[in-house]
Each structure stands twice: as C-alpha cells, then as structure tokens.
C-alpha cells in the first residue's frame, strides 16, 4: 500500500483543554485586533491586522483542523494553494501598479 503507516498519528486525539487554550488565544487576538483598529498606525494598521489574522488562521489550522498532526503530503496540499494565491495577488499587483500612465 502506498501510504506509510499513519496509525500512531491517527490515534492522536486533542484534549478539550488544548482546544480551550487555543480558543482563549483566539479570543485574545480578536480583542487585540479590534482594539488596534481604533488606533491609527497609518499603513501599519493593515500589516498588524493581517499578521494577527494569519496568527489566528494558523492556530485554527494547526489545532482545530489538526494540521499539526498530519503527514507531509497534507502539508504540501495545504500550503501550495496559499502560494498560488500569493502569486495571483502579487503578479496582478505588479501589473496593475507598474503601468505607464499616459499623459
């Protein structure tokens, strides 16, 4: 069979406690991001908001979605689409914002 033996990994069941800690962290981050949005940091606002959101997303993916305990192939297919999304955004950006403005 192609698959390696995952059986030990599957046995992993996250405890309620872990989940609650992660949840608490998510709530704290939500409060932070809402709070920060009332303060003006200029362009840093975007950066902070996105950083916090990514941190939250990572927590959800790693723990709630168990990614932390998945095999490498799942990791590849979880991350590759993000790479493509990044590519789509950056390259469209490069095009849109380096165009010559004709007087």
């Amino acid at each position: 069979m192609a698959s390696h033996s995952h059986s030990e990994k599957h046995a992993h069941i996250t405890t309620y406690k872990t989940y609650l800690i992660v949840w608490a962290a998510l709530m704290v981050l939500t409060v932070i991001t809402v709070y920060v949005s009332y303060v003006d940091f200029g362009t840093m606002n975007v950066v902070i908001a996105m950083a916090v959101a990514s941190l939250k997303a990572a927590l959800v993916a790693l723990f709630f979605m168990h990614l932390k305990f998945e095999d490498s192939i799942t990791w590849v297919f979880a991350i590759f689409p993000l790479g493509l999304l990044f590519l789509l955004i950056t390259m469209t950006f490069v095009d849109t914002f380096t165009r010559v403005v004709v007087p």
Partner: protein
C-alpha cells in the same frame, strides 16, 4: 441501488484506514480549491484597496464593527465546539458529540441571523452590491462566505442526525471529522474577512 448486486462482489475497495486517510486528503484538497475560489476576491480586494484607499477607508466606516466582532466571536466559538465534538466522538462519547455539534449549528444560525440584520440595515440605507467597488466586495465576499456557511450547516445537520442515530463511534467517525474540517475553513475565511472589511477597510 440497482448496482448493488454486481458492484459489491468484493465488498469495500479499501481497508478502513486507507479510506479514512483518503477522505482526509481529499477534504484538504477540496479546501485548497475553496481558498482559491475566494482567492479571486482577495486579489480584487488587494488591487482595489491599493487603488482607492480613501474610498475603502470612508465606506468601511459604514459597516457595523460591533456586529462584525460579535459574529467573529460566534464563529470562533462554533469552531471550538466543532473541534471538541470531533474529539468527543473519537473518545466514543456519542451524546457529548451530538450536543457539541448542535451548539455548532446554533452558532452558525446565529451568525446567519446577525448577517441578515446587517444586510437589511445596508439595504435600508440604499447600499447595494452596485453602490461602489467597496460594497461590491463587501457583499460578494460576505455573500460567498454566507453560501459556505449554509453548505456547512447542511453538512452539519446531516452529521448531527447521523450522530444521534448512533452511526458514529470511536472507530468510525470520518464524516464528523470531514464536516468539521469544512466548518473550520468557513471560520478561517471569516478570520480574514472580518479585519479586511470591518477593521481596515
């Protein structure tokens, strides 16, 4: 099914372990496509935000931050109960699992109700998808997300009924886990939508 007689001479194609890991891989692949489906909207958001920063700033103030924040909490909480539900069934606690899934569903419905009030508030202010690029993005992103919430709720409803009927136990619980993964994705996307639309605009 009419096929059953000749379809199943050898029984299942796969042993349960492979079936489980296949489903999981399949689900992750599907989540990847979902991200890229939203990807077009994220890309559009990025482009137009950079082009019209003032418009985004001014118009995002019209969104209701409080409602957005409440919805974020609701959705994160539902993700928590969902995750706990998966752990519960893996420990063989069918009843706990069912209750946790039910809470998840209720949270999802709450999210929908709040969103409904938000939408109607916008409509009553004569704000529609064609009002401006920002509101186009707002309605399309949250609208597509809403569709996903409803699909997720549909899946969870089925899973809930099956759990009540005792179809799942510590050994076999793939559908709960798959439904859970889908639900977390819905949460995950909202985690980005909330700051993008409500906070930084």
């Amino acid at each position: 099914m009419a096929e059953a007689d000749i379809e199943q001479p050898h029984g299942h194609h796969m042993d349960p372990a492979t079936e489980y890991s296949s489903s999981k891989l399949g689900m992750w692949l599907f989540l990847g496509t979902e991200i890229l489906l939203f990807g077009g909207l994220f890309a559009a958001y990025a482009i137009f935000h950079a082009r019209f920063p003032e418009m985004f700033y001014e118009q995002h103030l019209e969104l209701n931050r409080t409602m957005g924040a409440i919805n974020t909490c609701v959705l994160i909480f539902s993700s928590l109960t969902m995750a706990m539900g998966v752990s519960a069934i893996k420990l063989g606690r069918q009843k706990t699992a069912a209750i946790l899934i039910l809470i998840t569903i209720i949270c999802g419905l709450t999210f929908g109700v709040i969103k409904y009030f938000e939408y109607s508030a916008k409509f009553s202010h004569h704000i529609y998808p064609d009002t401006s690029i920002f509101f186009s993005l707002y309605f399309l992103m949250t609208g597509l997300h809403m569709i996903h919430v409803f699909i997720g709720l549909g899946i969870l409803a089925v899973v809930f009924v099956l759990t009540l009927k005792g179809k799942f136990d510590a050994k076999y619980n793939t559908p709960i886990e798959m439904g859970g993964l889908y639900w977390h994705l819905v949460d995950l996307i909202w985690i980005y939508l909330f700051p993008l639309l409500y906070l930084i605009g």
